[in-house]
Subunit: 168 residues, 2 copies
């Protein structure tokens, strides 16, 4: 089992970004592939209690992604955006919009760096305003992101174990 | 002739946005229509010395725009992005990317407010980092934006005169 490493959030007062850093116990290629594989999105994206499906996920510059989450009560939450840069295995730039708040868009830049076989993910989320940023933080952005990151981390660990098993 | 009004830039040290405000001597509907009409883009977008053509301009949420400018020496500068919100006549949200610097994306929100028959345009441009913002400012963003705004203003004036003429 991976020792769950800490997720660091940098949220400075008065600016309009959130920077999320996490170290994954896996090689960068694997982190990138896992992050961009539509089949794996339901296994890590968003809160575990939601059932998330991939409506669209065209991972190339100009391609659209759209994920739809459903809770036990049948409430539906949909999210979409457009990839602006896809640079395997190191960088992803895309927009993010919750369809419940149309026109509130954030711009996300994920940079993966490999260090001694581990991967540092640096995820920079920029909002249209300080108010939008603060609103997302107040609505539990850190808890949501932490849960996704922990699910992603656990998934990576399962994939690594299978890979190691297959390689024996 | 319109008395050219001032363009105000707010560029605070250490943050990652540029806010551009201008008052146009025209009704909001006309400003919005002019702003979003592909036929008119070559008449105001970018520096006058460039010849700009519209490659794509699908003004709806999810639609792509792409403009190509050519200078007298034949150098080509292309720009593209995706509309995220199109709310006539008051709001446009879209991304902006210079193809010479792929992956450097900004997110632009234009809000038009009508006041006594004039229109205040509030254009908020958010960058991925303070460095990206400062780099664009150092590369003449203010001069470029001011020229586009002045060309746009003059175009509005010509359209208004024609409209007035046609209405006589």
């Amino acid at each position: 089992m991976e020792t769950m490493t800490k997720t660091e959030f940098v949220i400075e007062p008065g600016n309009q970004e959130v920077v999320i850093t996490h170290e994954y116990n896996a090689a960068r290629e694997l982190v990138f592939k896992t992050l961009t594989d539509p089949k794996l999105i339901p296994k890590w994206w968003g809160p575990q209690k939601y059932n998330t499906i991939v409506d669209k996920m065209d991972v190339r510059a100009g391609g659209v992604w759209r994920f739809v989450s459903r809770d036990a009560q049948g409430n539906v939450f949909a999210f979409h955006g457009v990839y602006h840069q896809v640079l395997p295995p190191e960088k992803l730039v895309y927009t993010f919009e919750f369809e419940g708040a149309p026109g509130h868009v954030s711009l996300e830049t994920v940079v993966l760096e490999e260090q001694n076989g581990k991967t540092i993910s640096n995820d920079n989320v920029v909002f249209q305003s300080v108010e939008d940023r603060d609103g997302m933080v107040q609505h539990g952005m850190q808890e949501g992101a932490t849960e996704s990151i922990n699910r992603f981390s656990a998934l990576l660990e399962r994939i690594c174990n299978v890979t190691r098993w297959n390689n024996i």
